[in-house]
Symmetry: C2
Subunit: 499 residues, 2 copies
């Protein structure tokens, strides 16, 4: 991993560089693989690591793990912590949680406020958690040049050379006459203008002109500069953030801070600040980039078979071409498909032509309207101690497979409305039931009556799997009273926005 | 149900009419809804009843339930008995089981042999279990006319008026000059010639000519006549069947009879007998018919929405047209499909254009070659006492939901290799475990150790559902020792071909 510890040119600047991973995205466009509570950043879309793991590995090259800030929300924080557990200690104090999504400007302002407190000279490298970048060396070079510009008080964005007349992105035109900085082949320029998502004709013109760049949503700036610019162009937001800073210094209660956050205006950093600022600069970059914005966009980055198909999972195909076929454990049998998307998950299947992949968002909206739980989360839910998978749910019962990592243990808990039965299928379970503590081996079982304090623990070196059968009139995950928890989880409420 | 007890014109003939439902088909072309062990005839493809239930109801109009013979194989007999339980007593002695599929001629010969023994003047009405017929009155009229012809020693087939240039069926040209019998608008003619499945050009010519009919695979003849014609044109088969008749009269053992059956030549009644016989007659019929031979053929018979889609199950669609979308419990989300087939089942999903629906057969072959269990049976398996559904299977364990009908009970049994845990989720379970017998209510559980005699029973009026967790090194359904069974099932071997 020698290459991963490479440092770019200006050590002084890098001592002040803080990567900020924006990880609050919802999971609509990669449904059904992504869910509202399991968005794209948590998916292993390409390669052995999930997108957020790849993003983390990318930014620690230019910084140190304990400088990386994670901006997310309470619902996703746990899954992200699990996925970034390799950097667990370094990140322990670096999660900034928004009580609710208010678009990018408030989220960035909140992190900037915290970073200014930690280091008045902090330079932020803001990257979305769920994009794909290919070319670490080129990325590092771009970060290095952009940091120099940021240190001069500029708001720097990375411009991506367009490869198709995309109508889904904003475009940036640099002012080529002025070179703000240069490093090898890379140059920084002032932004001549920002262009909102164009129509198809305009997009084709920009592609042909060759002097327009896609706005990648990655930024480098001093934390103090962005706060100043927010103050200048979004003063109500600035005042709100300032107030939240004061409340935090006064150790105000979580609910007061959450309430203050909820009143912030919902505004994006692009339209709300960048496009209004005179300090905007752009570095046209050389690395390959994709925002993998829909199933169709996998074409740009994924490995294909001879017929141009992207195939994952237990797929049996006859004669398909240029299709994207994602299976899981069940058999997906496809015959003669052309330019189609098929995604099969344990509780939902999607079938559409690639050309309609953008409408997956509509589908998720429709499911949400219908109250279908499949838009929200997967049947497998990750927890700090392992995971559980709902095998079946019916009136008055639920069947789960529960996986507990070696050394992991669930909270000491109790349910008011349900009894549980546990049968061990692999490993050893240490069970606390009322005042008893005992071990169960494979093929053995126990029952936990309603309102009995209990705990499940894996004391061994092997992963523990149990089948849990729940019975009761109400089986919601929120029927839980936690008495003690190794992972600092309280009884019910989500954790505060600031960890 | 008055219309269902209608009788056609000649009571004397009908006293000798024996409907024979050919129910030995394999389940390849409607995969994944059909399986080798759960073929198309058992599916509720259209209407509230399965195809075999509809077939039964159709033929009892022209006969009595206790005259209906069911020709099938041991693997499917149990499911068929469950589906035809409305006629349980009438059919109790009327299942003719082939030890293995040897095409239609041996199966028909075997039934003919049995019928001649029961009634020397028996007339057989042979119908496939898995076709759709619309127009009971027209069907009855055709049976009536055909029976008259059969009584005269003819081999009568029903000719269907072609509605498209189908290349998948055989065609029949009647000799219009000769009218063998007439009844209302219906006429019977000698067959001028049988034509094997034609190519597309020929099929178009036949459709245009208007004097060619599809061979429907339905026949009416005297049992004695078909045996004579088999003797004449397929003498090795006849000798084999004769020998089996003798063995049966001598009460030979099942294995000896099975062995004799296996040596019979595999030959179809169409090419082996009908096409060679001088006694072939055809009645061009007026009822609507479909062999629902593939997913694409559902177009002919199923109800469609405004956009021409056939939609079943939990499907959420945006903008699809003329597609066939079959879901089950999971969400199937489709966007912008045109002329596609999507079939989603608990363990397998199929996606193909309608134009490739015939290739589903190839897919099943491919799965079989790969040893994929999904070609063979469903995750839900029906039993005389209820059913079970495999929720999950992994190394060393299996989780099932077991459903026991009121009053139903599983055999008194034992397993050598697995222990079982039962948790009641609905109803009351009466459990026999070793020497104990006790009742379990909802939310209660018990464990059955390896090699312990046990039984599960539903003593109540409500359906019993339990979750069963199996543990052990081998979890095959054949690890079962049966001590007593209410449904006459032995320890392991399938039942004989003759019930």
């Amino acid at each position: 991993m020698a290459s991963l510890t490479r440092r770019t040119s200006n050590p002084e600047l890098h001592n002040h560089l803080y990567p900020v991973i924006m990880a609050g995205g919802s999971g609509t466009r990669f449904w059904p693989l992504s869910r509202q509570l399991f968005p794209k950043q948590l998916l292993r879309i390409m390669g052995d690591e999930t997108l957020i793991q790849q993003s983390m590995r990318r930014v620690v090259c230019a910084s140190a793990p304990n400088r990386v800030m994670i901006s997310t929300n309470p619902a996703q924080a746990e899954s992200i912590r699990v996925q970034l557990s390799e950097w667990k200690d370094a990140l322990s104090d670096n999660f900034v949680l928004e009580p609710e999504g208010r678009n990018t400007a408030p989220a960035i302002a909140l992190v900037a406020l915290e970073l200014v407190r930690r280091d008045p000279n902090a330079i932020m490298l803001v990257v979305p958690a769920d994009h794909i970048v290919k070319g670490q060396r080129d990325f590092d070079a771009a970060v290095s040049l952009a940091s120099n510009l940021a240190a001069q008080g500029l708001l720097v964005t990375f411009g991506i050379k367009p490869i198709r007349p995309e109508t889904g992105y904003g475009y940036i035109k640099p002012n080529r006459k002025t070179v703000l900085a240069k490093q090898g082949k890379l140059k920084g320029h002032p932004v001549a203008r920002f262009i909102e998502k164009p129509n198809a004709t305009k997009a084709a013109q920009y592609l042909k002109a060759g002097d327009y760049y896609w706005n990648s949503g990655m930024f480098v700036w001093r934390a103090a500069t962005i706060l100043e610019e927010i103050c200048r162009h979004q003063s109500p937001l600035y005042r709100g953030i300032e107030k939240i800073g004061q409340l935090m210094q006064q150790n105000a209660s979580r609910s007061v801070i959450d309430e203050a956050y909820r009143t912030l205006p919902s505004v994006s950093i692009d339209t709300g600040v960048m496009e209004k600022s005179t300090k905007a600069a752009v570095v046209p970059v050389t690395f390959r980039w994709s925002d993998v914005g829909s199933w169709g966009s996998l074409d740009e980055v994924a490995t294909k078979d001879k017929a141009g198909n992207v195939v994952v999972g237990r797929v049996v195909d006859i004669d398909s071409q240029r299709s994207i076929i994602y299976g899981d454990q069940r058999v997906v049998a496809t015959i003669g498909l052309t330019d189609m998307v098929v995604v099969d998950t344990p509780d939902a299947t999607l079938v559409c032509p690639k050309s309609r992949a953008q409408d997956v968002k509509k589908m998720v909206e429709l499911l949400k309207q219908q109250g279908a739980p499949e838009h929200l989360e997967h049947v497998t839910v990750h927890r700090p101690w392992g995971s559980y998978t709902v095998l079946e749910e019916g009136p008055g019962y639920k069947v789960k497979r529960v996986t507990v990592n070696p050394g992991g243990r669930l909270s000491l808990q109790m349910h008011h409305k349900r009894s549980e039965h546990w049968v061990v299928i692999t490993g050893t379970a240490r069970v606390t039931r009322g005042d008893e503590v005992f071990d169960l081996q494979v093929g053995h079982s126990t029952g936990i009556p309603v309102e009995t304090r209990h705990r499940l623990e894996n004391p061994g070196h092997e992963t523990l799997h149990i089948i849990e059968v729940q019975n009761g009139p109400y089986l919601g995950e929120d029927d839980i009273v936690r008495f003690q928890d190794d992972y600092g989880r309280g009884a019910e409420a989500p954790r505060s926005f600031k960890v």
